[in-house]
Symmetry: C2
Subunit: 320 residues, 2 copies
């Protein structure tokens, strides 16, 4: 057992975190970072995009399933994806962590490394935050980015194609494998749950293709497409018959689950859902899964029962 | 017992919160707010100031001591004060809340009202955030503001006066009264702990007077002045002999505590500590408590023992 947070105290912890996150000098567009009341960012001629996500131990992650680096990476990615989903480029993260004090210092530093690594991958930097004591580990991340042209959920037009930047389902499948204690059977699928990745280049490609509306897949395909439908005041028809589910089929068989249910409801994988003009060519790897129609609401066709959809249609944070 | 959060679900809760915070249209400098992946803020020719603070139930607040509105107000003020302390004007807040789901909906909406009220007082607005489930209530707030000229902790110069925007101590005294179950004796002092206020005009006055360094009183006078000393590479001499402690004396007597110990260590009251040029006239209500000298470290003189200082000198979040 290494040193615990309570043994080294807050000052030493913040100093160690500051080294991992960088001290914030000589950073693009940043005048001053960690170590004052707030971070100061240079003026920008672009609009700012600001998002916040919270992750709570035993609700959003379990320390016996995930490494500290995976947990940090997962929360960072959730935020970074929101910036891309608005048509923005992520630049800065603020990180708030509540700790019991009994954590090993190395565990906390690995958590910070997971956040810092994901930030670095996209050219962003941690510039501030807060450390406090609490009974459960909670991580709050605010991401700040810039955009010259924001993409909202509300821009979908009748006739647009509905597309997604990859096959969803792996996060839910990975969680199901973990719950069934079968993580060793399909390590790649489990990893997609424990440490989802975000592909900013795909977001850029969707914007270049003329995306009229966009969001990331946070709460499941049905929920997130419904949000685009509601925000844009249009109907959306989803057809999943042509999806190739082979990467999920074996895991589905091993758990006696229809993999299509994962496709419909899996969240937290941060693929991008967008609507594109009918004439737009699909960027590489992007799948067409439907179209925007007159009316309201989301219709789904494909090989699965209506009951399956309505049951899984909503994802409630506060359900027990 | 009213409706609980788990009974109305996340969608209805977010809709109700959206009404309290305002839907974010027609807000100064804000293109889009609550309801998308992120908020979008119009470009600004000024630097941005960004801060984050976390508050955890039973560590930073107790629901049997404070009303929901007081709790919301307290966390909002802590953030807003950080923006002022950097020489900025607060404009936007992102609010992340973890809830058990068992809270009454009205309690949560009152929490939001407390945040919204403090934001409104300073001309700021809640533009986004996150709601999640957790075992304890945790509130994370990110404040964003603008500044034409940031004031850092690192600018104190030898010969400067050390000043503070009011008499510190009430927050610690209020907490001591609550712990001793004597809240009814000194309700105003207790209120200073439960719902501290922030006076942006005093921050402005200090900046106009030429503040060379500034911070807010978050962790106690000795801790916060030490941070200015370290960041600026100067010594600071504090002399508290001339302070009029009469507002704290009766409470001190009733608890058999030297009120000077509250003055030295009370945090979370968000007064402003600044260094001003020797020639600067003190703004109204501002107290001179020392001067910047050659050397390093903080010396304190006044009627109290050295032991008292060294014991209280550091405030450790992770100490048990």
């Amino acid at each position: 057992m290494g040193l615990q947070v309570a043994q080294i105290g807050e000052g030493a912890l913040i100093a160690a975190l500051g080294k991992i996150f960088g001290q914030g000098k000589n950073v693009k567009n940043q005048l001053f970072g960690i170590g004052d009341d707030g971070a100061v960012l240079a003026p920008s001629s672009l609009a700012t995009v600001a998002t916040m996500d919270l992750a709570v131990e035993d609700v959003h992650f379990k320390t016996d399933w995930s490494t500290a680096k995976q947990i940090g990476a997962k929360v960072a990615v959730a935020n970074i994806a929101d910036i891309y989903a608005m048509g923005g480029e992520p630049h800065f993260l603020l990180v708030g962590i509540s700790l019991t004090g009994q954590e090993e210092v190395e565990w906390v530093l690995d958590l910070a490394r997971g956040i810092a690594d994901e930030a670095k991958k996209v050219g962003a930097q941690v510039i501030g935050g807060d450390t406090v004591r609490g009974e459960k580990i909670t991580i709050a991340i605010t991401a700040l980015g810039n955009t010259s042209e924001p993409i909202y959920r509300s821009g979908a037009k009748v006739g647009d194609q509905l597309v997604i930047s990859g096959l969803p389902g792996a996060s839910a499948a990975g969680l199901a494998l973990l719950k069934a204690d079968k993580r060793e059977l399909f390590p790649e699928i489990v990893n997609a749950h424990l440490q989802p990745s975000v592909d900013g280049k795909r977001a850029h490609a969707l914007i270049s293709a003329g995306a009229t509306a966009m969001c990331d897949l946070s709460d499941g395909l049905l929920v997130d497409v419904t949000r685009i439908s509601e925000a844009s005041g249009v109907g959306i028809k989803i057809n999943l018959d042509h999806l190739n589910l082979s990467s999920l089929t074996k895991a589905g068989t091993s758990l006696a689950v229809d993999p299509m249910s994962w496709v419909l409801t899996s969240g937290e994988e941060h693929l991008f859902i967008a609507t594109l003009p009918a004439s737009a060519a699909l960027p590489e790897g992007v799948l067409r899964i439907g179209e925007v129609i007159h009316g309201l609401g989301v219709e789904v066709s494909g090989e699965f029962s209506d009951a399956q959809i309505s049951e899984k249609n909503t994802w409630q944070h506060f359900e027990k």
